[in-house]
Symmetry: C2
Subunit: 322 residues, 2 copies
């Protein structure tokens, strides 16, 4: 871990050393060493998050690092991979309080225990801008088994895990545009990477990705990669009880939930015959899964069907062509 | 590559796709796949750079990405590793001109060709702060052969590659505190990672690291990791011709050159008997190496000896205790 900050920041080293994975050499050398798991393929992803853009500046520091770690874990889940380790660079404004850094690191330590990985290395820098985090994650899987976005085929069923729209509503709650709701706020701050489900879908799903930018937009990416169309039954999209209550009071909200973001659920394609096995494996993984539509032939286009079978007009999310 | 920016930024994808390594899946999936080189240990490092902190906001965009890539390559060089691939996250202010991004990517493409690696994945985000880059590099080496910081022993000779202080002077040139000098400016903007030398030192050097924060400070880290003392002969520290000319005019400058930073040369420890072999291998690697002192028993302490053999007083760099 390269410390390019003034002495006052050496306290950061203290906070991050307890997070060090085997191979990190105690974060004291120029680089870390890693013996790749034998006979496995590595899976790698990197994401950045900026205060005021990807999280709220007054979010509790305990949850900020965890959110970034979990969005990266969600990328591993989407490929069907098992987490291995991560590297983290942290940009902090001068004068960031010691207590903030301690809480940030404590949150990461909690998630490291929960998801079974540690930090291999990184860097801590000072910035005149807002808090700026960047995380690279490594996972592994059996060679050639990665779930990709490009395998959906006409006739496949379209599935989604968990519930959709909670992250979007959680942000509204935290911005005081909706009444306080702890469940929704948590869904925004602490996504649940569907690692066990992703691993269980290997060999069963034809394609998968995680929903980060909104169900419709991300499904459009999947259709484009696979070269087929998709149709969603709006009423089938699974909602959590708080989201369902809000939609009951304001039906127009349903569209916003499927174009909002920050879901970090898995979206996947599987042949109809696989449904019983998918449901059994999802149960074993402890995650609900719901069939919400179907893939069809034709150009990459997503349509949304209402209760009566009529196609909803493309909305702000622009869901007809991607 | 996860694009969380508005549509105007999708141009970034165009600029970065040509940089994609095999296994990056064209930067279209949630993560990249990498088959680790068989029977090799992986070496990983991450560094961040912020405009106005680690580079000058008006540095040419062609050199900014290359500097970050090269500082990470220098970390690989210090361990004796061979480059494999990298992941990059880029935070850009809204309204960053297309031409800036194109030039930034073109610089990276040039270094990818020079150093033989490609980008596996990453993220591009918008920031209200200055340009903020984070890069994670992967390299590989034979298991158990990594050069570490903790192997120096009393009696070992202290070596350094290339010349010291050019980065420090290059920054002064670019800040108009010294007359323009293209060589020095280049040494600040485009460090030369000593990859061939690092690989050639495996099995020969007892310890190595790269000099990023200043020769004295970094030697202090090496002494602390190795549990021994070191003594530098100030006059032996190799200077480039422009640096030597400046020191001839202002002898007090020598101390600043050995406490300045941004050298990205290799500092290493080797037994006296290894000197002929080190010189032969360095010649083969096309890099000058110079013996500048010796390690001794005792607590981790660095002393600097002048021409007459007298110890220089500890200066601003604080070189007696680390």
């Amino acid at each position: 871990m390269n410390m390019t900050l003034p002495a006052e920041f050496s306290l950061i080293a203290r906070h991050f050393k307890p997070l060090a994975a085997p191979g990190s050499l105690g974060l004291t050398d120029d680089a870390a060493l890693l013996t790749p798991p034998q006979g496995r393929e590595l899976v790698l992803a990197a994401d950045a998050m900026v205060a005021g853009v990807h999280f709220l500046p007054d979010d509790p520091p305990e949850t900020i690092g965890r959110k970034l770690l979990r969005t990266n874990l969600s990328d591993l889940a989407a490929m069907g991979a098992t987490p291995l380790a991560y590297l983290l660079t942290v940009g902090l404004p001068r004068g960031t309080p010691d207590a903030w850094i301690a809480a940030f690191a404590a949150g990461l330590a909690e998630d490291q225990r929960e998801f079974g990985l540690g930090v291999l290395g990184g860097d801590t820098v000072s910035t005149p801008g807002p808090v700026h985090l960047s995380l690279t994650i490594l996972g592994h899987l059996a060679p050639g088994t990665a779930l990709r976005r490009n395998g959906a085929r006409p006739g496949d069923e379209l599935w989604v895990s968990g519930s959709i729209g909670d992250g979007y509503l959680g942000l509204a709650v935290l911005q005081h545009r909706l009444p306080m709701d702890g469940f929704l706020a948590d869904r925004y701050r602490l996504p649940q990477p569907r690692l066990a489900l992703g691993q269980a879908l290997v060999g069963l799903a034809h394609a998968a990705m995680d929903v980060s930018d909104g169900l419709l937009q991300d499904l459009g990416h999947l259709c484009r990669a696979s070269g087929c169309a998709a149709r969603i039954e709006a009423a089938a999209v699974p909602l959590s009880p708080p989201a369902a209550a809000l939609v009951a009071a304001d039906p127009a909200l349903r569209q916003k939930l499927i174009t909002g973001g920050d879901d970090y659920e898995l979206l996947f394609a599987a042949p109809p015959g696989a449904a019983p096995e998918i449901e059994a494996r999802a149960r074993a993984a402890g995650v609900a899964v719901t069939r919400i539509g179907r893939f069809g032939a034709g150009e990459a286009q997503v349509s949304v069907i209402d209760d009566s079978g009529a196609a909803l007009p493309p909305g702000q999310g622009g869901w007809s062509h991607f």
